[in-house]
Amino acid sequence: MKANRSFRRVCSLVLLQVLFASVCAAAQNSALSPTNIFAPASTPARSVFRISSFVLEITGAIFVVVFSLLAYAVIRFRERKGDDEFEPPQVYGSNQMEVAWTILPVLIVIVLFLSTAQVIHRVQDAPPPPDAIHVTVVGHQFWWEYRYVQYGFVTANELHVPVSDPRRPTPTYLALLSDDVDHSFWVPRLAGKTDLIPNHPNSMWIDPYETGVYLGQCAQFCGEQHAKMLIRVYVQTRADFDRWVKEQQQPAASDPSAAAGSALFVTKTCFACHTIRGTAAMGTIGPDLTHLMSRDTIASGTLANTPQNLRAWIRNPDAFKPGSKMPVIDMTDDEASQLTAYLTTLR
Amino acid sequence: MSAIPMELPEKRSDAAPLSRGRVGMWCLIVAESAIFTIFVAAYIFYIGKSLEGPTPDQILTVPVITTICLLSSSLTMHWATAALRKGNLIMFNLSWITTFVLGAIFLGGTAREWHHLIFQEGFTVNTNLFGTTFYALVGLHASHVAVGLIALGTVAILSLLGKVKAEHAERCEVLALYWHFVDAVWVVVFTVVYGLGR
């Protein structure tokens, strides 16, 4: 009888463990979501994941214990029929219990704090190695500017970084600035978020282990189109990254067939906000368009970068992103086509 | 119905040693101290951070006379309430009105200082960080002095009309508490603005 009961108890415990383990495994599946915080692909995200798992284990244990006690109390001490008359024994307190359930939580807090403090220091205070890539990220309403200062070019909305071999890491350090209001750079699989605050430079780092595209978005409310300030991080092999850098360093391609569009770029005042290196367009209010066609998306990830979308966007940004800072410029259908034709030459 | 006035015995069997007026005023003082603390914190944080424009040592002169006036007004206020407790109405009136006058001199002096800064030096709340934090902090204090003067003035008028007696000593002491608080804040503001900042 007794053996039977303990066998059943062991079985239920094993079952619970299996259930718990499968939930954990499922949670870490990056197919669940491309922005799953439990599918780290870079050291900062992994450090966060490890301490988070530890915290989850402890809070999970506390939950099971207290929940069971509460459930037990509610069931065991409920009023039964027929015992209306008496009041239960009045217990006013117990100093020993108070001490016990003060000291135990304090110990848990100390353990959690010490393990956390280590992680904070390791992630925040990590010094950049000499061969780290440095990119300055400038937050704008509602797009991302990426300045590759050491390579001498500026791009927008799609960040390219080299993959990092854990045995010989080549991290990318991001200096975070803001041109206007508060923003926050959040690509969950690569790192926790860090804010971009005007007059308050911040920095963070990532060292992704695998090539691929990692998604994220602005995580600090920054105005009307905060929701459409999306992030795409392209992690490439070293060779691919170097090739991309070389391409970005070139001035804009000059295609004589698009001369009409390039003239319109000036007369329609696009040049006042945008830069196209190698031309007279040197505006810095909007994204750099020198190699616009090397990007998969436009409007900070809002639209796929196709000629149709480009044309629709320059015709009327408000149709896709009302509140974006790009004004609606008056132009005829022909002018729109010519401008689009010009923009599609900017590879 | 609460239209029936409530006669609370001021002393009860295990009564609180403090009257509710006193407790209420202390609560107000705690809340106001928190407000002033934030303004002082902002002032201190921004010391030396203005990008341009005049600095404190360039344009501020230490307001010695007005400070002496305000701080001595605490003394005269104390005399006034002590006199009222004893029932010495003449001494009370004299000291109370002196307090008012000293406070008014302080406020007038601040007004003169500001007039000079704004119209002669061209230094305003939007000149630089120093301007913003200076006028905000000193102005917040000055507004509290002004409110205090209104209260003091009201009591002075009532007293001259013969309506203030010894049994009102507790209430006057509660008001005196506010006045002392305003003086204490000035000690802090003075130290931070004319001492620390310069």
Binding site: N36, F63, D182 | I35
Partner: protein, 554 residues
């Protein structure tokens, strides 16, 4: 001490019309009811705001609401919830109950009390006037759209032209004055007006907790007032407090706001703890376990809560030792909070639990507050927070506290004290329907809301991309709204119906032990015909159990 109240031969109270009576009253009971009714009105309004937002978020790239309208709605929803629902309703219950429970005639400053209520009320009206200003109502007018914490420099004249931010600033400034006035009243009343024999050590826990709350409000609301004055100087007088172009710091706004913002949530939870601490003992038929520990824990929470604010700022780039400090203090505040949960549990242990509706809501509170506290520990862990901050995990966490915790405690308080306030019992049957339907809705919406946060969904976005794995969870959260709305409707109906048709309550329908049950339901305007005198923490227990009074054991 008499448990029946003696009618005094008083002059006929008032021949003025009821509306004038209510508008001009300084009676704490009427003011309390006005606070509560005012808050309930805004509860319904903020529920509508939430419903609209949840409809928009039920599908990716939805076009039910425009971006600007959505942004205005979440700003108004949050601002309303904190300042015009939670604070007034808790001030209302406190106002009604504190004088009764300490055997007093009214609050210390009845006119200040009325003034405070009306200031709060006007603040709410001013905030909602913004909907009818500026643009059309369908676009939410000129309602503030900067988020309830109104971070600089989004609130600067450059990035918030027009007056929407000004509505936010001024409405809260006015309401804040009301809150400080209310707090002054609570502290002075509890310290000075307790009846003979009621030492601080013998007053009900509700009185203790309102005392701590009052003290906390004094040092909590004032930093917000200060920051808002600074913001007005920036906006109206071209000041530079938060002007980065002039060298100003926007992080300073964050510090000042959260120095208010964090203790503020303790201002909300502590009176909720008070309800739980009064109701659980009565329905477990046992005295509260560990009264001194409960007092110490509450006071401890009050103090420690003043030192945790920057856990809202773990991502702004504070140095590592700064982050670590706030991790420590934030986790520390969980200790006294846990102590309270254990004491409530110990109160129920060995008791005789009666599952009347107030107790059901208390039990719901206990389970949900436990979960909310644990998700709070997760957020207190700065590295974990670097992922979770500003995501739907945080939104789920604080709604778990505010709805699963505070609102459940408030529902418990309603079912428990409605008989005292109106003389009628609320329907138990409708109460159970309310409880279960609302419980289902709450869990549907907020349990599953944690998941999108863990999968990378930020907050304050009017829409989201498909393919991020967020769709199904958002849909489930939105469905939960239907049940919550149904629960609230049942609740409102219960209150209205029972006012006219409910069973007569009598003085003491729950067989409880504190002074408010010693007078009629509703109490006469003077509360007690004879000033009560007490010898223990449970004066009515002493009367009902003369052979075994509490004062023998305390």
């Amino acid at each position: 001490m008499a448990t029946d109240s003696i009618s005094l031969p008083l002059p006929e109270a008032s021949s003025r019309p009821a509306i004038v009576d209510w508008l001009c009253t300084v009676d704490h009971k009427k003011i309390g009811i006005m606070y509560i009714v005012y808050a309930l009105l805004f509860l319904v309004i903020m529920g509508i705001e939430a419903t609209l937002m949840r409809i928009q978020l039920s599908r990716p790239n939805n076009t039910f609401l425009s971006a600007e309208t959505f942004n205005r709605l979440f700003t108004m929803h949050g601002t309303t919830g904190i300042f015009f629902v939670a604070m007034p309703i808790l001030f209302g219950f406190g106002n009604y109950l504190v004088p009764l429970m300490i055997g007093a005639r009214d609050m210390a400053f009845p006119r200040l009390n009325a003034f405070s209520f009306w200031m709060t009320a006007f603040g709410g009206f001013l905030l909602y006037a913004s909907f009818f200003a500026g643009g059309p109502l369908s676009q939410a007018g000129s309602a503030p759209d900067v988020g309830w914490f109104a971070y600089a420099p989004l609130t600067s004249p450059v990035f918030s032209p027009g007056h929407s931010t000004d509505y936010w600033t001024l409405a809260l400034l006015v309401a804040g004055i009301g809150s400080i006035g209310g707090a002054i009243n609570f502290v002075a009343t509890i310290l000075c007006l307790r009846c003979p024999g009621m030492t601080l050590n013998r007053m009900p826990l509700l009185a203790w907790m309102n005392l701590v709350m009052g003290g906390l409000v004094l040092v909590t609301i004032s930093p917000l007032t200060a920051a808002q004055i600074m913001l007005m100087i920036d906006r109206y007088m071209s000041g530079h407090f938060f002007d980065t172009a002039a060298g100003g710091s926007v992080v300073m706004w964050m510090h000042f706001f959260w120095i208010f913002g964090h203790p503020e949530v303790y201002v909300l939870i502590i009176p909720s703890f008070a309800f739980i601490s009064e109701i659980i003992p009565v329905f477990s038929r046992k005295a509260i376990f560990g009264y001194p520990a409960m007092v110490a824990a509450t006071t401890g929470i009050g103090f420690v809560s003043l030192g945790v604010w920057a856990h809202h700022m773990f991502t702004v780039g504070m140095p590592s030792y700064g982050n670590a400090f706030f991790v420590f203090t934030t986790m520390l505040v969980a200790v006294p909070t846990g102590i309270k949960i254990f004491n409530w549990l110990a109160t129920m242990w060995g008791g005789k639990i009666r599952f009347a509706t107030p107790m059901m809501f208390c039990i719901g509170f206990l389970f949900q507050f436990l979960i909310a506290g644990l998700s709070g520990i997760m957020l207190a862990d700065a590295p974990f927070d670097w992922q979770l901050s500003n995501s739907y995990f945080v939104v789920a966490h604080f709604h778990y506290v505010i709805v699963g915790g505070i609102l459940f405690a408030i529902f418990a308080a309603f079912y428990y004290w409605y008989p005292k306030m109106t003389g009628r019992m609320l329907s138990e049957k409708l109460g159970r329907w309310h409880f279960w339907i609302f419980l289902i809705g709450f869990h549907l919406t907020f349990d599953f809301m944690h998941v999108p946060g863990l999968l990378g969904m930020p907050r304050r976005i009017y829409t989201y991309e498909p393919g991020r794995g967020w769709e199904v969870w958002n849909m489930i959260s939105s469905i939960g709204v239907i049940f919550q709305a149904a629960g609230i409707l049942i609740f409102v109906y219960n209150m209205v119906h029972s006012y006219f048709k409910g069973a007569v309550a009598g003085n003491d329908p729950w067989d409880a032990w504190t002074l408010e049950w010693a007078t009629t339901s509703p109490p006469p305007s003077y509360n007690f015909a004879v000033v009560p005198e007490v010898r223990s923490r449970r004066p009515l227990w002493d009367i009902k159990h003369p052979q075994d009074p509490d004062w023998k054991y305390e």
